[in-house]
Amino acid sequence: MTFTIDVAFIIKSIIILVIFGITLLVAMYSTYGERKVAAFMQDRIGPNRAGPFGLLQPLADAVKMFFKEDFIPAQSSKWLFILGPCLSMLTALMTSAVIPFGDSIKYEAAPGKIWDVPVQAIDVNIGILYVFGVVSLGVYGIMVGGWASNNKFSLLGAIRAASQNISYEISMGLAIIAILMMTGSLSIRHIVEQQHGGNWNIFYQPLGFIIFITCAFAECNRTPFDLPECETELIGGYHTEYSSMKLGFYLFAEYINMFVSSAMISSLYFGGYNYPGMDWVQAQLIGSLGEIAGHNVATLIGFLVFFGKSLFFVFFYMWVRWTLPRFRYDQLMNLGWKGLIPLAIVNIILTGGAILFLKPLVMSFLK
């Protein structure tokens, strides 16, 4: 028995490490992708000097970041100044723990005994609440960093970040509630499993999706909601005083957040690792490769599908960034409080009505 537990433990550890590594790798190459996408949309070529197609550019950037002088302003509160980027990075990395990256990996622990390990760091039954909790902690990193810098512009950026995140978290939560009403579960894995095949939530919740993605942009401080760091007004916002790897952490945390929220969008609205025709593929694979190997290969395909969806949304973030200009602050607040929150409430009412009246109607037709 101890043997089987150890194997499960090892597989779980590997999954956690792989998810961690992939998150970091994606964030790292997002910086490269961002520059390439920006360049392509402006009819340029982008970084292409470091390695083939500039693929080593993130490494070069990292080396640059490491070797820069690590400056701490004399008037800052030193410990908080260091704590800021650490908090940002920590919260950014914690979120990816509850995202189901794939179905499950099967292996034979003992003859006739097949274990099933889900491809997910931890499957908590309150996954969405966990994500929300961690994401709202994320604003502390920015707030602490901006305040500890003892710089007007940093503080302004931090205040903007805090109020923006709080405002948009509300409508984000309200948009999710409609999904929760449909699925009746807070576990992200449950939500993904209910979108089996091509039965994705986007077809039931287009309005909710638009609200959610808008709020996700605001939560990640991405253009058109990048007011906390808007260069033209606040120099660099909350990270004005930061240099070296501390600045690197802030920038890196933004890219991790981007990837994680893309993963959230694709698992909540675009079916996660589900794709049309997945049952047929799985049956074919099990038929040709056997029960265990077939299932594992099908899981791998699902994982790649999920990954592709997430990367598309990472691209979408960049696409929007290089299309839209920044909102003015009052426009941002108007949109958040007067636009999205009422809309999200209307969405909840519509969803409730559909569940109460439309679903039995459709069901009776189907019978």
């Binding site: 009819d43 340029r44 070529i45 696409w319 299309t323 839209l324």
Partner: protein
């Protein structure tokens, strides 16, 4: 009073619903950027690929020789006077007997120096020269220098190499314009 025909009547009409929900406009914008995403890039990969900058681009200087390889410069100093950056300096000398195959005129520049840090590549020296002796090459730049003694270029660097003469399609702006208008693909040649 209308000054130009580009003036536009400003309208304060209420935005339509489609304009107010903002999303159609975003979609249009995204369409424009994605179109550019797949368009041909305009970048020229500079050190590897060099663009032809036209027949009268003003690059590094060259002190022309005539067809027999004699220096054309007569050290009149008009280029130095014309130079707005005061980059040119020279020392004149008299041609001795037996030097007729070296210098075309009776007076020549024994020393001819251009300070490449001062030069602004305006081409006024070229225009001032009565002997058509100094030109700014259209095909070569002043290379990047890192040492102080590389800054001032003497005759060793400036004088034209007879084994590899400097050719160009048009020797004046007027000539270049004429070729351009008539669509002539002129042959590169050594001198006006």
């Amino acid at each position: 009073m209308q000054l130009t025909n580009r003036s536009k009547q400003v309208s304060n009409k209420q935005m339509t619903f489609a304009e107010r929900i903002y999303l159609p406009a975003i979609a249009t914008g995204l369409g424009i950027t994605i179109k550019h995403f797949f368009q041909k890039k305009v970048t020229i990969q500079y050190p590897e690929v060099k663009k032809n900058l036209g027949p009268v681009f003003r690059g590094r200087h060259v002190l022309k020789r005539d067809d027999q390889g004699r220096e054309r410069c007569t050290a009149c100093g008009l280029c130095a006077v014309a130079c707005p950056a005061e980059a040119i300096s020279m020392v004149a000398a008299e041609r001795q007997k037996g030097e007729e195959n070296l210098y075309r005129e009776e007076k020549y520049a024994a020393v001819y120096e251009i300070n490449m840090l001062r030069c602004i590549f305006c081409g006024l020296c070229e225009e001032a020269c009565p002997k058509q002796a100094i030109y700014l090459r259209h095909d070569e730049f002043v290379p990047v220098f890192t040492e102080r003694d590389q800054v001032v270029w003497g005759k060793d660097l400036l004088a034209e190499n007879m084994n590899n003469r400097y050719l160009r399609k048009a020797w004046t702006k007027e000539e270049a314009r004429e070729q351009d208008i008539k669509g002539i693909d002129a042959k590169p040649r050594t001198q006006l």
